[in-house]
């Protein structure tokens, strides 16, 4: 393929050579992009997956709750992590306080730094840093010269009370569980 009348320095020769060279580079770059762009998007896929959107879940029967006495319940939900399905996973715990036909639901997670808040006699107390709350989840003075480190009141959760399909005399309490950012003055949903 070497025309004998052309030398490697002749313009036609170098023009052809340059064209082929850039064609080769261009094709190479095109093929690299064809694989590279999808490969990058494939790698970034987990970033584009939104967090699980919680739903209202039945958590307790209304008849289990005594007026004004906090009742601890677990929230179970189907949790999906890529291809792995956890059909009945505990996603959180709640304190439920019944007032007649109404129920107040509080997350057990302390708004200070996220420990689990206990109920002790007449108030909620966080075992970690003396975060203390009334039975309605409002911050109070821990007493004994201690200060309450919590930046906000205990986090309330949305709930719905609906008829129990298995027992017409009873009702079910549904809770929409959410986790909130700790140590913030306002309640912000954790993504």
């Amino acid at each position: 393929m070497h025309p004998s009348n052309q030398t490697p320095t002749s313009p036609e020769y170098s023009g052809r050579r340059n064209f082929l060279k850039w064609m080769t580079h261009g094709l190479g770059a095109a093929f690299a992009a064809t694989l590279g762009v999808p490969a990058t998007l494939y790698l970034l896929d987990p970033r584009n997956r939104s967090a699980l959107v919680g739903d209202f879940k039945p958590v307790a029967k209304l008849s289990e709750l005594k007026d004004g006495v906090p009742f601890e319940a677990v929230v179970r939900e189907i949790r999906r992590d890529a291809w792995t399905l956890y059909p009945n996973d505990i996603v959180g715990r709640v304190w439920m306080i019944r007032h007649g036909d109404d129920v107040k639901v509080l997350s057990t997670t302390c708004p200070h730094l996220g420990c689990a808040v206990n109920f002790e006699g007449d108030k909620f107390v966080c075992p970690c840093h003396n975060g203390t709350y009334t039975t309605d989840g409002v911050r109070t003075d821990p007493g004994a010269g201690r200060t309450n480190p919590a930046p906000r009141d205990m986090d309330t959760l949305e709930c719905r009370i609906e008829a129990d399909p298995e027992n017409p005399k009873d009702k079910l309490v549904f809770v929409h569980y959410q986790a909130f950012k700790p140590n913030e003055p306002t309640k912000e949903v954790r993504a």
């Binding site: 393929m1 070497h2 060279k21 080769t24 694989l35 999808p38 490969a39 998007l41 494939y42 790698l43 970034l44 896929d45 584009n48 890529a82 291809w83 792995t84």
Partner: protein, 148 residues
């Protein structure tokens, strides 16, 4: 920028050596099979690593993770498809390349070591991969080694 990289890595020299190599008797289309095999192997390597990052080889997760790659992940179908057809293509290209080498006598003295390296690389590719196509390939390698 180009010179800066070239001065420090010599990458340009490597690329030139591959692109502008003087081939005795001139370039021929029948010399492409080795390069084609190398490119397909490179694609297999890249797509293989990508698949490996999302595959879970457990008895309860293998099917689910492959389904997830194929139908849920962005471009998972493309990456897995390239890997699937790449492995089939490698078997064919391997045969064609070896045939070309034998026809050209490139396995004869003084290039036997090159032939052995080729056989070795093929069986190593075997170890790296799994499934039907590699069984076929290892059969090809074994028969080739016996005949030699």
């Amino acid at each position: 920028m180009r010179n800066w990289i070239n001065d420090r890595t010599g990458l340009g020299g490597v690329i030139d050596a591959m692109l502008l190599e003087e081939i005795p008797g001139g370039a021929k289309w029948r010399y492409v099979w080795g390069s084609a095999l190398s490119i397909v192997f490179a694609i297999q390597f890249v797509t293989g690593v990508l698949l490996m990052l999302s595959y879970s080889p457990g008895d309860t997760t293998a099917w689910g993770s492959v389904y997830f790659i194929q139908y849920q992940m962005d471009f998972g179908w493309l990456i897995r498809g390239l890997h699937h057809f790449g492995s089939q293509t490698m078997v064919v290209l391997l045969g064609v390349h070896m045939l070309q080498v034998v026809i050209a006598g490139a396995h004869l003295k003084p290039r036997e070591v090159n032939w052995w390296l080729g056989l070795g690389r093929t069986s190593r590719a075997d170890c790296l991969m799994s499934g039907r196509s590699s069984k076929r390939r290892s059969w090809a390698v074994r028969s080739m080694a016996i005949k030699r």
